[in-house]
């Protein structure tokens, strides 16, 4: 394990005058290896024992593909919705003073704290055809519970705090003078928000999106109640993994898990790259 990379013969760009770079980097690497890398490589190892053709067969199985589509698709849509409304919520919480602001501010964290199964059951009761919301939507021909729409709603619920809490501090930091500068240059309120303020929030919004998306892909507890779990329709990949496990089909379970892992890693990597590009520019 690398604990003293400075001695490893590579040349690091001296990151700052503050000492401790070698020690902290060594610690971080060791820690990440222990906590993340070893368990995950175990997973890959396990699925590798499957052999290519078997792996390929599982990966292209229609039920697997459909489940992955649903998982990533709904997570993407939910994260996109959260980006829009989460940013608005963060904006309102920072910019306006109204009675109950603190209560709402605290409420944002509830999806973090609530056991996800509780959230799932609550949402299912609400949106099932006989529930409050479900009963309202049913006459309009909108079915929420037991459809992908239900999954999206559950994931929106779960992902909201990720966006709000990443964007909020950045909104708080916005310099009042930047807005005033835009106004003196002739920009109206709308232009100031969309040309000046929101683009400045972009890096934080992207982070919030990544977090909400990643969380959505991996979410299990809240989704399985509302999804109805119909194969090919509303069955998410994590559930399919559990199903395979219950069938003692460990190879299939790990194969699906490995695919999820690879896809998630790829998407997060892309998001991170976008981010480091914008970061470099804005300084």
């Amino acid at each position: 394990m690398t604990t003293a990379p400075a001695k490893a013969g590579w040349r690091f760009r001296q990151p700052s005058v503050i000492p401790g770079f070698g020690l902290t980097l060594g610690f971080s690497l060791a820690y990440l290896t222990l906590i993340i890398l070893i368990p995950l490589s175990g997973l890959v190892w396990r699925s590798a024992s499957l052999g290519w053709s078997d792996f390929f067969a599982i990966a292209t199985d229609r039920r697997t593909v459909k489940a992955l589509e649903i998982s990533f698709g709904t997570a993407f849509i939910a994260a996109a919705i959260n980006v829009v409304f989460g940013t608005i919520v963060a904006w309102v919480l920072v910019r306006y003073r109204f009675p109950g602001r603190r209560v709402i501010d605290a409420m944002v964290d509830l999806p973090f704290a609530l056991p996800t199964a509780v959230a799932g059951i609550a949402l299912t009761t609400l949106y099932s055809p006989k529930g409050w919301m479900g009963a309202l939507l049913a006459p309009l021909g909108i079915k929420v519970a037991y459809t992908p729409l239900g999954i999206v709603i559950a994931l929106v619920f779960i992902g909201l705090p990720f966006v709000v809490r990443t964007v909020q501090p950045i909104i708080e930091e916005i310099d009042k003078e930047v807005e005033e500068a835009a106004a003196t240059l002739g920009a109206n309120r709308f232009q100031t928000i969309f040309l000046v303020l929101f683009p400045g929030l972009a890096p934080a919004v992207v982070t919030g999106f990544a977090l909400a998306f990643a969380r959505g892909v991996g979410e299990y507890g809240s989704v399985i109640f509302i999804a109805g779990n119909l194969p090919y329709v509303s069955e998410i990949a994590p559930l399919l993994i559990v199903i395979r496990l219950e069938e003692y089909d460990y190879a299939a379970a790990t194969a699906i898990a490995t695919i999820m892992l690879a896809l998630s890693f790829l998407m997060l990597l892309v998001i991170n790259l976008i981010q480091s590009r914008t970061r470099k520019r804005y300084g």
Binding site: D175, E177, V178, E180, A181, A182, A183, T184, L185, G186, A187, N188, Q191, L195, V196, P199, G200, A202, T278, R281, Y282, G283
Partner: protein, 349 residues
């Protein structure tokens, strides 16, 4: 564009940041607002820009009451103390912003905006930096981008809040000269805030000296330096010495001796005499003078500063003597200020 500030008062939660300020600015003038921290300079600038509303009083642009106009309509260029550049936009986009947000009927084409931006970059001597982001510029460069951005909208009035505040002395002097040149070239009415008196006196057509939310004096550099109209201005601009005196029948007295100065317009009573340490004449014999014992003497550049004890050491003042003047070595020196002013002691309560 003429700007007229008429009896303006501005309160923040009851705290008066400006009390009854009136100021006439002629078209094309370069005006400096000079005053200590907290004297209301920024507040006055923000009121003119429309970023704050006066609690009382009116601001006129030409003959028109400016309060009828929104910030956007006032067409003022405002350069903020901390630049307030848009950090996700390139330098060129920053400068072009004011043109880009115009309603489509008045908006120049994209190519035209780009051309204007690079013209302005030439003017502020930053040609070739169009594609940089603000984070990739030095402080002085950011300052100049902020100025170019403000000038892009062809403002009627240009307002600058401590434009050179955060820069080192060398760059400051350069930018100062350069601002004067730009002002002369463009002819915008310009108001800038500073608390550097050298900057104000050197650069401005007229200097507005402020203190505690009031305008103390408005005048050219010569006027505010040579004929300060209040103890504050005497103390704030340049160096000054002051002595407590008494006025009786138009004569100025120190303890029990008249000092040969007359102030016929002043009422009898306690007062304070102000003069510049270098603006004095030395006297050989004293019939009507200020006399004191030399307490300390130090060399300051081309002159010698002498500290005198007056009236048995109760008061100390400074005067300036030529180096090598014999009086500096004498233990007793008599002098009379050439240019001076006596202000009656403010009535208590």
């Amino acid at each position: 564009m003429e700007v007229r500030v008429s009896n303006v008062r501005k309160e923040f939660d009851r705290f008066p940041a400006l009390r009854d300020v009136s100021l006439d600015i002629r078209s094309g003038e370069l005006i400096a607002l000079l005053g200590p921290s907290g004297s209301g300079k920024t507040t006055l600038l923000r009121l003119i820009a429309g970023l704050e509303r006066p609690t009382r009083g009116t601001i006129f642009f030409g003959d028109e009451d400016a309060s009828n106009r929104t910030i956007q309509e006032r067409n003022v260029g405002f350069v903020f103390q901390h630049y307030a550049l848009f950090r996700h936009m390139t330098v060129a986009d920053n400068i072009g912003f004011g043109l880009k947000v115009r309603p489509s009927a008045k908006r120049p084409t994209k190519a035209e905006i780009r051309r204007r931006a690079s013209e302005l970059l030439d003017l502020v001597q930053l040609s070739g930096l169009e594609k940089r982001y603000p984070a990739q510029l030095s402080g002085g460069q950011r300052q100049r981008v902020a100025l170019a951005r403000a000038m892009a909208i062809e403002p009627k009035v240009l307002l600058l809040d401590e434009p050179f505040g955060a820069l080192d002395a060398q760059v400051r002097r350069e930018l100062r000269r350069w601002l004067r040149e730009i002002h002369d070239a463009t002819g915008h009415t310009t108001i800038f805030v500073t608390h550097d008196q050298e900057e104000a006196l050197e650069l401005a057509d007229r200097v507005v000296v402020m203190s505690q939310g009031r305008i103390e004096q408005i005048g050219t550099a010569d006027e505010v330096y040579d004929t300060p109209n209040s103890p504050f201005v005497y103390g704030f601009i340049g160096e000054s010495s002051s002595l407590p005196v008494k006025v009786e029948d138009g004569q100025v007295w120190i303890s029990d001796r008249p000092i040969g100065l007359t102030a016929p317009e002043l009422p009898d009573g306690e007062a304070t005499l102000y003069f510049r340490p270098h603006d004095i004449e030395l006297l050989d014999e004293c019939n009507g003078c200020i006399a004191g014992t030399v307490a300390a003497s130090r060399r300051v550049a081309g002159t010698r500063r002498v500290e005198l004890e007056i009236g048995g050491g109760r008061e100390r003042i400074e005067i300036e003597l030529p180096v090598g003047h014999p009086a500096a070595q004498k233990s007793r020196v008599a002098f009379r200020p050439k240019r001076w002013k006596v202000f009656p002691k403010p009535v208590e309560g």
